[in-house]
């Protein structure tokens, strides 16, 4: 994987993904080292993203690397009208690897073609966010012991949710059964269902999940945002249907874990937090280990 870029999770084969997950497990056991000593990593955040940026910076710092970069575009030469092309050319010569978050879709692929160093896509608009997918896969494998043959519930906004689309595509490699639970207006788009049908994978769509929750191995929650609804009355009708409460978890499988890409608003009631099946905060911590693994793989250090 040395000198490759990570723009979309599809850039890596299943074996390569598993290799990164194995390496992440090593970092979980031993997160601090000097592996990135002498390396300069550029973190270019053209739009703010506290969680992703801090997770990357924590990963780099724990491995002894140095960081250059910015956390919003306002303070950079972009405000003076510099093109992405020129910014990336310049930053390539200052750093050994570029981590980039940018609001324009396809910007990461473009940057990876211009840069002379590897590029990690930390989110390009509504398109891809592969390091999130990688940490989701890590969390699933860690809690279930395997990625094979699982029953994954995806709940909430399945229409606009970039993370659910990427995770669904990635999990489709391991014979997953999917249950999609969303309001009518936010259903999984047709193109993704066709994708699953072509692979011969099973998926089921529901408007509610209280009756079927006992089948889940993973419940992946997402936010249902008010602004996604054309009719505010529709939002009022559904807003409480997609809220997970502790009382709903009584009959769930012992191995079941609840994931959420965070930030959470009200879709997981705080009374779930103390349930051992709540995994979303550990999931966020796993992001540091997976990002350490990705950085080292692309730099050819591990």
């Amino acid at each position: 994987m040395k000198n490759r870029s990570l723009v979309s999770i599809d850039d890596f084969t299943s074996d390569e993904v598993l290799k990164i997950l194995d390496l992440a497990a090593e970092f979980e056991k031993n997160p601090v080292s000097r592996l990135l000593e002498g390396k300069v990593i550029a973190t270019l955040f053209f739009e703010p993203s506290t969680r992703t940026r801090l997770s990357f910076e924590s990963a780099i710092n724990r491995l002894g690397g140095k960081i250059v970069g910015f956390s919003e575009a306002g303070a950079t030469s972009l405000a003076k009208g510099e093109s992405l092309h020129d910014t990336i050319k310049m930053v390539s010569s200052y750093s050994d690897l570029i981590v980039m978050r940018h609001p324009i879709e396809g910007s990461a692929r473009y940057a990876s073609e211009i840069a002379s160093v590897p590029v990690i896509n930390a989110g390009d608009g509504a398109n891809q966010h592969p390091t999130q997918t990688m940490l989701d896969l890590y969390s699933i494998r860690k809690t279930q012991g395997t990625l094979n043959n699982l029953n994954v519930f995806m709940v909430g906004d399945l229409k606009y949710g970039r993370t659910v689309h990427s995770l669904m595509m990635a999990m489709s490699r391991w014979n997953t059964t999917f249950n999609f639970i969303s309001p009518e207006e936010l259903k999984m788009p047709e193109e993704f269902k066709i994708y699953l049908e072509n692979l011969g994978l099973k998926y089921y769509e529901h408007l509610d999940f209280t009756d079927i929750i006992s089948r889940a191995d993973i419940i992946y929650m997402t936010r249902v945002q008010r602004e996604r609804f054309s009719d505010p009355i529709e939002y009022e009708k559904v807003k409480n249907v997609y809220v997970l409460k502790n009382s709903m978890l009584a009959n769930t499988k012992p191995n079941m874990r609840i994931l959420h890409p965070l930030p959470r608003v009200n879709e997981i009631h705080t009374d779930v937090d103390s349930n051992p099946k709540a995994y979303y905060f550990e999931q966020a911590l796993n992001g540091v280990y997976t990002r350490q693994a990705i950085l080292c793989s692309l730099l050819g250090i591990k």
């Binding site: 979309s8 093109s83 992405l84 092309h85 609001p103 324009i104 879709e105 396809g106 910007s107 692929r109 473009y110 390009d124 608009g125 509504a126 398109n127 891809q128 193109e191």
Partner: protein, 152 residues
């Protein structure tokens, strides 16, 4: 009696005739094939009557033969185009164009938030459906379908 003047788009001795081009895309075909930059003798006619297309255009290029890969690039703007390969004033081969597996340049990504609509990037697409043309953007990964297809 005076002979009626006849201005014929003369037959070519050897080269390629591209027929059944929709009249409105003639100049796009010319630019996609780079015919405005080559030294060959070229004649073209446009707004000719055609039962199939309404108004069609035809291009005759003397001494020029195209690779399939090159000629297929016009499939997006002239899907019904037919090629006659001429040698010694005879048609030695007929070809139809076929939508290629990949499109570089030529088409515009319909996603307004795609990088190709912000910076000077050559567009690149994977052709995911040929019958009802659907193009997947190499950059933003969104699909541009036939109805929304715009030629640059």
């Amino acid at each position: 009696m005076k002979e009626p003047k006849q201005l014929s788009v003369s037959a070519i001795e050897s080269g390629t005739v591209i027929d059944h081009i929709p009249a409105k895309t003639l100049f796009k075909v010319i630019s996609i094939l780079g015919l405005d930059h080559i030294d060959s003798q070229i004649t073209f006619g446009t707004n000719l009557e055609s039962k199939k297309l309404g108004r069609k255009a035809i291009i005759k290029i003397s001494g020029k033969f195209f690779e399939d890969n090159d000629i297929n690039r016009i499939a997006l703007v002239a899907p019904e185009a037919k090629l006659n390969i001429i040698k010694d004033y005879e048609v030695v081969e007929k070809k139809v164009v076929e939508v290629p597996d990949a499109i570089v340049g030529i088409a515009k990504c319909m996603n307004p938030k795609c990088i190709t609509n912000y910076e000077k990037v050559t567009t690149r697409f994977k052709v995911v459906s040929k019958k009802n043309v659907a193009l997947k953007c190499h950059y933003c990964e969104k699909i541009t379908n036939q109805e929304n297809l715009q030629i640059i």
